[in-house]
């Protein structure tokens, strides 16, 4: 391991002055910093355990899924109702201007929110910052999902031949990008801690 090599006096003299980055020799060898590897593995194990618990929870408690569908439908009805009167919500269908879509569990932000929450929980940070991240992240993902469904309905109405691609792109690709962006933002804006004596 590169950082183990750095123990030798010769290498430690030429070690980088900027902390937190591997030395050029480590970089050239494409070996990850050992401490960071350990931290990332801990994060992955915590995330995996949290994810399994979350999957078991949503499997055994069907009310969560039902609540997510109902909440998404009513939020959509309220949001679209601000702009147009031709909105109809009849579980599990949402109709906008004559275009009808069914809201199924996959159309709710349940899974992306769970993934974000598990990542936030697994990451070493203060409890308060985790709570802020979880609540703000859930709100952003909820709003994003409403926008996504409304955009998908608009595409279905105006360009139905584009629907399949837009649906899978907005849901699969862009949602994961949003998820990563939220997590990175949450990490970057964490308030600095006071150094313990």
């Amino acid at each position: 391991m590169g950082w183990e090599v750095a123990r030798s006096r010769k290498v430690s003299r030429s070690a980088p002055t900027r902390p937190g980055r591997p030395s050029p020799r480590d970089a050239a060898r494409a070996v990850a910093p050992r401490a960071a590897t350990r931290q990332v593995m801990t994060f992955l194990v915590r995330f995996a355990l949290g994810w399994i618990c979350a999957l078991l929870l949503v499997s055994f408690v069907p009310g969560i899924e039902r609540w997510a569908i109902r909440g998404t439908l009513h939020s959509l009805g309220w949001l679209a109702g601000l702009f147009t009167p031709s909105v109809e919500v009849a579980e599990p269908a949402f109709t906008l201007g004559g275009t009808r879509v069914n809201i199924v569990p996959d159309c709710t932000p349940l899974m992306p929110t769970t993934a974000l929450w598990m990542a936030i929980l697994a990451f070493p940070s203060s409890g308060r910052w985790k709570l802020v991240g979880a609540l703000a992240g859930a709100a952003v993902l909820w709003l994003y999902n409403l926008g996504r469904i409304l955009a998908t309905v608009a595409v279905l109405k105006m360009r139905p031949e584009w629907f399949d691609f837009v649906h899978v792109y907005l849901w699969q690709t862009l949602t994961v990008v949003v998820l990563f962006a939220l997590f990175v933002l949450w990490m970057r804006f964490e308030p600095r801690r006071r150094v313990a004596s």
Binding site: A15, R21, A35, A36, V40, A115, V176, E190
Partner: protein
């Protein structure tokens, strides 16, 4: 945030290719899953699976290409190791989902729970597969740099690297 923009751009560029390959890929995935199911004594002929593949592969490639903190050798290695790993995860994920659903299908009380469990287990593939593979292979470089400027003496990867570095020099 430049990393996120690079990732978004690359993922968007790769998405049409993934979409075009999706039908063929998911049929091939179904064949592989059917063969594994036959091996474990659950013969089932799946015509096609729907796990949003290979968008997870596209996302993983985008994540690796967007990563600039990791040296290029590590990125190439991540691509070479990560893509086959994700394909295996796809096959095993669907196999586990189907086995769970089939195993409890005749038990009225458990069937609904098992169906939901299998469904959400297969959701693991599109939602977290690419991200976890990327973190596993390139996270030690990328995660620490993402938080380097925001963290002081915390318990996070950046601080750990800093401590590690200080100890060794």
């Amino acid at each position: 945030m430049s990393w996120v923009l690079r990732f978004a751009g690359l993922a968007t560029l790769l998405a049409p290719a993934c979409w075009l390959a999706s039908d063929f890929y998911q049929r091939a995935l179904a064949v592989a899953v059917s063969q594994v199911l036959a091996l474990v004594g659950q013969p089932l002929d799946l015509g096609r699976v729907d796990v949003a593949a290979p968008f997870d592969l596209g996302l993983f490639v985008a994540l690796c290409l967007a990563s600039r903190r990791a040296p290029w050798k590590a990125r190439v290695r991540a691509l070479l190791a990560g893509l086959p790993f994700l394909v295996v995860v796809e096959v095993l994920g669907v196999v586990c989902s189907v086995v769970i659903m089939l195993h409890f299908r005749n038990q009225p009380d458990a069937a609904e729970i098992a169906f939901r469990g299998g469904f959400y287990l297969s959701d693991t593939i599109p939602w977290v597969g690419a991200g976890l593979a990327w973190l596993w292979l390139l996270g030690p470089w990328e995660l620490q740099s993402a938080i380097l400027h925001a963290r002081g003496q915390g318990r996070g990867p950046a601080a750990a690297v800093r401590r590690d570095h200080t100890r060794r020099t």
